[in-house]
């Protein structure tokens, strides 16, 4: 598979966009400027990027509680995302969703999701709609290692495989279900093995290698578009931060994070680009500067935006009913 220089630069751009957005969110949380539960994607950038680079704008994704990376990779706008983290009226969800529920249906983002394992069946529904309408769109479904122990994972894979739905199941195996390591939550090492039970292809790839992820997903997407059904792709990766900001990560063995930092997916792409004359160092630096500015623009936009009017709290529950508000 040959990627054009343009493709590679696009992937690299997505990855640094995610990293820089997340680093900024981390700092804003530490400063107390944003609150709630913030689950950062730092270290896993190659997965979302490799997957979403294989998708068309009219394809869909379902995301997880750790969704910022997926949303950025699928084309989410940093301004509206940042405004949502601040709970502002200009945010993607008008301040009603926050970090865990960012969605943009116009870009095929069916939402981050606060329930572990909720996405698999929703992705089946999206795949069903595409199959029903006779389009060749696909839905990529992101989920973590721990969600593969939920009944929904098995229900979703069973339905998608039986109905040959155009879904690509992407397991981001970052080694932990919150604080419980994979070895303590399931009796397998490679989650892709579970595909055998559903008679679909199951592949394990290095989730810190964006090209490997891209290649595997690209093939799975092609199968799905041709009506050949779903694929389970396990991407082995690692989250650098805790489960959420504020998690002291006491459950990590010493040295583990440092080992994974050596496998940082971003310098790997940089190295490839420099060695293969995709970009010069000067161009890389310039691009980094541009993305830094974009993130700052997003923060400025969020800070300058208004808080939502409290009366909006009872809107959007239904399309046609506004619930009763308070008199105070």
């Amino acid at each position: 598979m040959k990627l054009s220089n343009e493709n590679i630069i696009e992937m690299y751009t997505k990855m640094i966009k995610i990293r820089k957005f997340e680093n900024r969110a981390m700092n804003l949380f530490a400063e107390g400027q944003i609150g709630g539960f913030v689950h950062l994607y730092i270290g896993e950038e190659a997965v979302a990027t490799g997957v979403c680079s294989s998708l068309r704008p009219d394809d869909c994704i379902t995301s997880t509680h750790r969704g910022h990376g997926h949303i950025i990779a699928k084309g989410g706008d940093l301004k509206y995302m940042m405004a949502e983290l601040f709970g502002k009226e200009t945010g993607y969800c008008k301040g009603k969703g926050g970090s865990m529920h960012i969605a943009d249906a116009t870009k095929g983002i069916l939402g981050a999701n606060g329930i572990v394992g909720a996405g698999q069946n929703i992705a089946c529904g999206a795949g069903l709609a595409f199959q029903y309408k006779g389009t060749d769109q696909v839905c990529a479904c992101f989920f973590g290692d721990a969600s593969t122990n939920q009944s929904t994972f098995h229900e979703g894979l069973n339905l998608a495989s039986t109905w040959k739905l155009p879904v690509v199941f992407v397991c981001e195996n970052n080694g932990y279900g919150i604080s419980v390591s994979q070895a303590k939550h399931q009796n397998i090492t490679d989650i892709s093995q579970r595909a055998v039970a559903y008679n679909i292809p199951g592949i394990t790839v290095d989730g810190n290698d964006v090209f490997a992820v891209y290649e595997a997903v690209n093939e799975a997407v092609a199968r799905a578009r041709k009506g050949q059904g779903p694929t389970l792709i396990e991407c082995k990766t690692y989250r650098w931060r805790g489960h959420f900001e504020g998690d002291p990560t006491v459950y990590r063995p010493p040295g583990e994070l440092e080992q994974w930092k050596k496998k940082d997916p971003i310098p790997r792409v940089e190295k490839y680009m420099l060695e293969n004359n995709v970009m010069t160092q000067a161009e890389v630096d310039k691009l980094n500067g541009t993305i830094d500015a974009l993130v700052e623009e997003a923060v400025d936009f969020a800070l300058a935006s208004k808080m939502p009017d409290v009366s909006s709290a009872v809107e959007d529950v239904y399309t046609d009913i506004v619930e009763e508000g308070r008199s105070r």
Partner: protein, 323 residues
Amino acid sequence: MRELTYGQGIKEGMRIKMLENPDVCIFGEDVGIFGGCFGVTAGLVEEFGEKRVRDTPISEGAIIGAAVGSAAIGLRPIPELMFVDFSTVGMDQLVNQAAKMRYMFGGKLKLPMVVRLPSGGGVAAAAQHSQSLEAWFTHVPGLKVVYPSNAQDAIGLMLTAIDDDNPVIYLENKTLYAMPGEVEDEVKPIPFGKANIKKEGSDVTIISYGKQVYDALKAAELLAKDGIDAEVIDLRSLYPLDKEAIVESVKKTHKVVLVSEEAKRGAYTGDVAAMIAEECFYECDAPIKRVGSLNCPIPFSGVLESYVLPNEVDIVQAVKSLF
């Protein structure tokens, strides 16, 4: 006019919309060649094909989840679970996904889906196949809940439900499926939030829905013999609720009895009673009474089940206690 059973009415509502809109589809447990556990979808797979009337695995999370995902993309699915009791298995998809997605996403998504859930006891199906769980659904903002009592309403409410852009819980009473009823040749959609006054009266208001409408009407006949003129209201739509019709009736009769088949503790009728107390307490000249099932699981044995479920005698007693 013509005669249809309640079950045929439900089917007719779905069929009309399926003929009208190719995005309307049915999927669920044994809805295809088997015709649904209660025969409601019989004949539809033959008419519309397996693409639009699809048997699913027994996998409630997948059924509701697939409805959520496909509705988000633009279908208008009608998922069916065989019994309302099985909604527990798909409850995350109903409560955390279907009911909340539009709101969480800032109103930028529509989820037009109608979830059909056969409810209620009286068929010796015991504790896991006989419940009345409407309070669970009416409690969740983001869901609409309807419960027809007859064939005509079954059609009219289904037409409205399928056209609604929000998730609608469509509850059906198992004991009514075979009950025939008069149906207009061309049934119009029944707007949600409009109760039906089944019998006008001046002395007491009996509020019910589903099967209990018939118990309430029987009770009204018995009460008439004792000179008590009862008004019987069929709510039809539990949320949105027709507050106006209820308040108007209470202003006229000044006495209220609410009837449902739910276990009485935590029942939906309690919420309606609270609404009456909040809106028109001073119009009531007697306590607001509720009739429901006893607070135990529904037993199997016929003698036990009919003891646990409410009937017209319980309603008559409740009404008489107000005079």
